[in-house]
């Protein structure tokens, strides 16, 4: 899988455990130990109550489409064969919103309000991307 040409996340201090949970196909988010809010993207402080400590908690994997877009422009050779592809903002049951892709159906078929379920895509030996399919 050394020929993967799309951008990959950097496993930095804040994000490493998130990406490692995805690699295990058990995506987890930080849940504040004080106010219980989940947070995303990963960071070292709860933005609601400023309590620093959190527990990495596995998510249900269920969510709903908040925005569905169809990317038609290719931003470089790595994307040429993908366009048109879906990009979506997904509202997870845990109360956070993330960018991802709804796969397994034509991009045009993804609509706001669709229920989705997580679907892991192992793109390199290091990185797994959390994507979604219609539930």
């Amino acid at each position: 899988m050394g020929d993967y040409l799309k951008p990959l996340p950097v496993l930095d201090v804040d994000g490493r455990l998130f990406w490692e949970s995805c690699k295990k196909h058990e995506m987890a988010l930080q849940q504040c130990l004080s106010c219980k809010q989940f947070r995303y993207p990963p960071r070292s402080l709860c933005p609601i109550c400023h309590f620093p400590e959190a527990q990495w908690t596995p998510i249900s994997g269920r969510g709903q489409v908040y925005v569905a877009l169809v990317m038609c422009r290719s931003y470089g050779p790595a994307w040429e064969h993908d366009v048109p592809y879906n990009i979506s903002l997904i509202d997870l049951e845990e109360g956070v919103r993330m960018w991802s892709n709804v796969i397994g159906c034509p991009a045009e078929d993804v609509k706001i309000g669709d229920y989705v379920k997580i679907s892991y895509e192992d793109v390199t030996s290091e990185i797994t991307l959390p994507k979604f399919r219609k539930a």
Binding site: P84, I87, N101
Partner: protein, 386 residues
């Protein structure tokens, strides 16, 4: 709370050529903008004691404001970079007024110049990053259109806004650019042309998206008192405000942005209401952002912006002329600096082609928006002190 209402004025403006400037550096563009603004104000480099700059993405050197000061022969008592994306130029004018009113300096130059069209840097020299790339780019969320398309998609979903209504914004901008000698895209277009332009990221067609440009602009700000002794008719800073959001992932919704709070602060300082405003220069990186901003600014109710912009209402001669220079959509993308210089020209009353002069323009509002939906700043400018 009227704060710094009328304390300061814009007394000089400079606009460089726009479009593709392959033989100029970002620094060179900024020096040219400063030269033009000082010439307009009839001031010399030694008269400048304040400088506000923005780090251009293609020149990520440290202490940027000081690099510009040194290159321009300016020895400032107040100098810094601001970093609010497309809200930066509007915020610069506000920060200049704050610094002058605080007694730090008397004459501030605010400058922006960049090379988006011909100056893209490779990785060898590094690039400024937005910060959330790790959670966007792996999913193909690339470029500003995608994040702004999310605003359009939600507005269409929540309020029934149509592609035709988005297109009306682009049509108005193009009509105004057609009347502006320093505009990039001057061939008039119709709604049909927008709808038939290729898709970039649905729901945005190509012509819903702004240009990618080289160019720059600068403005000179001083106290209203001192402005009276300078040759140009002063344009008074009546009010300003800022309002920033939590961005696309953590904001509660995407159809109201920072402009709602930012404009409320500016209106309160200026002691005016939306119906007092004669024209608006709205940060139009994408057509939907113009509509959302007009709503956030109170020109129409939330959700009504789509039908509101149709039928020439935002064109010169209409109820509220918007982006009388052609905006980012058709004049050039200079991150909103030329929205400010255009407002100044309109309020001076003798600075633009006669066909695009707003009749009896006394009060104009300027918006800045940027940082992937995060930043917003508002400026209210007046021809008179009241």
């Amino acid at each position: 709370m009227t704060g710094l209402k009328n304390k300061c004025a814009i007394v000089g403006i400079g606009e460089t050529a726009v479009g593709k400037l392959p033989t100029m550096s970002s620094m060179g563009i900024q020096l040219d903008a400063i030269r033009l603004a000082l010439k307009d104000a009839q001031l010399r480099p030694a008269d400048i004691d304040g400088l506000l700059t923005i780090q251009p993405a293609d020149d990520p050197r440290r202490s940027y404001a000081l690099s510009v000061a040194q290159a321009a022969g300016v020895r400032p008592n107040y100098a810094t970079d601001l970093a609010l994306g497309g809200a930066t130029p509007v915020a610069m004018v506000a920060h200049a007024a704050m610094a002058i009113s605080a007694g730090l300096c008397e004459v501030v130059v605010c400058v922006l110049g960049h090379k988006q069209a011909t100056g893209r840097l490779g990785d060898r020299r590094g690039r400024l990053r937005d910060g959330l790339e790790d959670f966007e780019e792996p999913f193909g969320v690339l470029g500003a259109p995608a994040i702004h398309a999310a605003v359009a998609a939600r507005h269409m979903h929540e309020y029934g806004t149509t592609s035709e209504q988005l297109a009306a914004v682009a049509v108005a901008a193009r009509r105004h650019a057609s009347l502006n000698a320093n505009a990039t895209m001057r061939q008039p277009i119709a709604v049909k042309d927008v709808l038939e332009s290729r898709w970039i990221v649905k729901p945005f067609h190509l012509l819903d998206c702004c240009l990618v440009s080289d160019g720059g602009g600068a403005v000179v700000v001083t106290s209203s008192e001192r402005a009276g002794n300078l040759p140009q008719r002063p344009v008074y800073i009546r009010g300003f405000g800022e309002g920033h959001t939590l961005g696309p992932l953590e904001s509660p919704g995407l159809t109201t942005l920072g402009g709602k709070h930012s404009s409320a602060v500016a209106y309160r300082m200026a002691e005016v209401a939306p119906n007092d405003i004669d024209f608006a220069e709205i940060y139009d990186c994408f057509t939907a952002i113009t509509i959302v901003t007009l709503e956030d600014y109170g020109f129409c109710a939330k959700g009504e912006g789509g039908p509101w912009v149709e039928n020439g209402r935002i064109e010169i001669g209409g109820e509220l002329p918007v982006n009388t220079h052609g905006g980012l959509l058709s004049q050039a993308h200079i991150e909103g600096m030329l929205h400010i210089t255009e407002a100044v020209k309109q309020l001076r009353g003798d600075g633009v082609e006669v066909e695009r002069q707003v009749k009896d323009a006394k009060l104009g509002i300027v918006s800045g928006h940027g940082a992937n939906l995060g930043a917003h700043a508002t400026l209210i400018l007046g021809r008179q002190l009241n």
